[in-house]
Amino acid sequence: MATLQFREALGQAMAEEMTRDPKVFLMGEEVAQYDGAYKVSKGLLKTFGPERVLDTPISEAGFAGVGVGAAMAGLRPIVEMMTWNFGIQAFDQIVNHAAKMLYMSAGQFQIPIVFRGPNGAAHMLGAQHSQAYEAMLTNVPGLKVVSPATPYDAKGLLKAAIRDNNPVIFLESEMMYSYKGEVPDDEYVIPLGVGDIKRPGTDVTLIAWNKMLHLAMEAAEALSREGISCEVLDPRTLQPLDEELIFGSVRKTHRCVVVDESWGFGGVSAQIATRVQKVCFDDLDAPVGLVNSEFVLMPYAEQLEEAVLPSLAKVIKAVKETLYLGT
């Protein structure tokens, strides 16, 4: 076991897969000579050379489309979006082309591609650099969406994503790149679509992913001191969702709270709530609780940003609400 930063775990996953399969290559803005805007691709240019690690112009739609075309022709591209705020410029290529190609061609053209990059707010970056995109990207059949919260999961899931024969959206976070965690020395792959109980518990199922998982863990810890036992469930993959894991947990706890950095209109949290109320209707002792970012754009000033994002206090409040405990 080595202790790695999140960024290093991702870098290892890419390096291992590029070593294993010569069809895998990486492109994106600053990924080569600069080692990545967030140093995720550190060393890859040196190891694999400029044919397989390519700096692109600032042309998200263009190079996303190059990735999709290269995948049609048999390669397995990894395309880094410096952040998903810029990835929206490539939505036509991701949604209309990558997601639909296999289907339109009746199975002839697979698109084994990973679009990866940080998603959601970092710190004081303002409205155009802080959006969480899972609501949009999980809505599209043909795309898989992955959003890991630990270095261990990040490595295992990214390897699975690279080996997957479908377009996979991989949502990271600027704030987590320096998070550290244990990563086995031996090779491992975490299958897509399988969630993980990050903390077992009995009173409330607390579902969260990416940065929010850490907030949920913090809340669970704080609540345990008040005698409330949260089961913290990390779906890890958002599309497809590990519904069985979710339903199983809720059938046990009878209560569910979802913490989702995205805006609370539709999206993954609403999907989970909808499915849980449908499938576990008779199991639920309280409505499914949701904690999302406030339904406003992201302000720059620090204390405003804090007020907008999910917080420990908001999560604790939502959990207590499902327990009908005053706060």
């Binding site: 022709a73 036509d92 199975g107």
Partner: protein, 364 residues
């Protein structure tokens, strides 16, 4: 137009003596001293009687195919959008003749004939239009989305301009795998104002990818004269922004097209780099079968029809090799028979089972 270095490239492939191309039934005529395309007397000696007949038959096949498609649509045999290529056949055919089977092609939604040219059987294209299981996309794609991985036809795309970065990606794979192949990417005069296209041009130019972009300038994007929505008359100028080589070709004459495109393709094969070709052409029908085309005068349409690519080739065959109308009609009959057969095949093909709707969402 961007300056072209094509002529000065020494290319063994274009020298038939050292490297004959067995898969091609039409040979590129030799260049004259000035490097200009040859005049009709030289052509007569270069294109064999049989080669011309084959060209004529294939072009008629394209035409008859689209005419039959229109008739089938009007009879209610299928629905949705349907964009015909009638009038633009010389370009599809001429370009196809310069390619090898191993080359790649991608296009927009007006691509029935290009798909057939690239090797998809008319049967399969027809069946696709009818939404039948034997369609080249099992009836899941439709008129705008013809695909054949085997024939290296990458679609059939419905988002205007969306295919242009995909083509760059296919070219990327060629470079990545160090192969001597080229990609042809068709787009329209309307499509060439899409931002994605410019991003793709910059990428292929920077990375020297062997993509031949062909702007089919049929002068209209839907009801819009292209000069109303761009500031230049010559669309090949878009290449200048990136110092990509470019030129313009008369897309109504198949021999012109072959002679113009062959050296470009051959040179791209050995010296990988992009190229932008603007082909002047005209669509006879409306934008889609439901467009009456009222934005054009009858005179304008008639003027372009007087340059009809099939008639031009027929006239040349009469002059150069003494064909007569009856012989041409015979060839045409063969093409029509082929279409009869294709349509009958599509009629007979079963509808896909509803379960097919739930397949191909994700690959294993």
């Amino acid at each position: 137009m961007g300056k072209s270095n094509i002529k000065s490239v020494t290319n063994p492939v274009t020298n038939p003596a050292t490297n004959p191309k067995p898969s091609r039934d039409v040979t590129t005529p030799p260049k004259n001293a000035a490097g200009e395309s040859t005049k009709s007397d030289i052509r007569a000696s270069v294109y064999s009687k049989e080669a011309l007949a084959a060209l004529y038959e294939e072009m008629q096949l394209y035409r008859r195919f689209e005419e039959r498609v229109l008739a089938a649509y009007q009879k209610g045999k299928f629905a949705g959008f349907c964009h015909l290529h009638i009038g633009q056949e010389a370009l599809a055919l001429g370009v196809q003749k310069t390619l090898l089977d191993t080359d790649h092609m991608i296009s927009g939604y007006r691509s029935h004939t290009q798909a057939i040219g690239k090797g998809i059987a008319p049967e399969q294209v027809f069946a696709e239009l009818f939404g039948k299981i034997d369609g080249c996309a099992m009836g899941k794609g439709g008129s705008m989305h013809m695909f054949s991985k085997e024939k290296r036809f990458y679609g059939g795309h419905g988002i205007v301009g969306g295919q242009t970065p995909l083509a760059a990606g296919i070219g990327f794979e060629i470079r990545y795998s160090k192969k001597a192949e080229v990609v042809v990417c068709y787009l329209g005069d309307g499509a060439c104002s899409q931002g994605q296209f410019f991003e793709a041009l910059n990428l292929v130019a920077t990375w020297k990818l062997p993509v031949l972009y062909i702007i089919e300038n049929n002068r209209y994007g839907m009801g819009t004269d292209y000069r109303r929505v761009t500031s230049v008359e010559k669309l090949a100028k878009r290449a200048d922004a990136f110092a990509i080589e470019s030129s313009e070709v008369d897309g109504m004459n198949v021999l012109n097209v072959i002679e113009h495109v062959q050296p470009i393709v051959d040179s791209m094969r050995t010296h990988p780099r992009p190229y932008l070709l603007e082909a002047m052409t005209y669509r006879y029908r409306g934008h889609s079968v439901s467009d009456p085309g009222l934005y054009r005068t009858k005179e304008e349409v008639a003027q372009y029809q007087s340059l009809d690519p099939i008639s031009q080739l027929g006239d040349f065959m009469k002059k150069s090799h003494g064909y007569d109308d009856a012989q041409l009609k015979d060839i045409d009959r063969k093409a029509k028979a082929r279409i009869d057969q294709a349509e009958a095949f599509a009629d007979a093909s079963p509808k896909p089972d509803v379960s097919l709707a739930f397949q191909h969402v994700y690959a294993d």
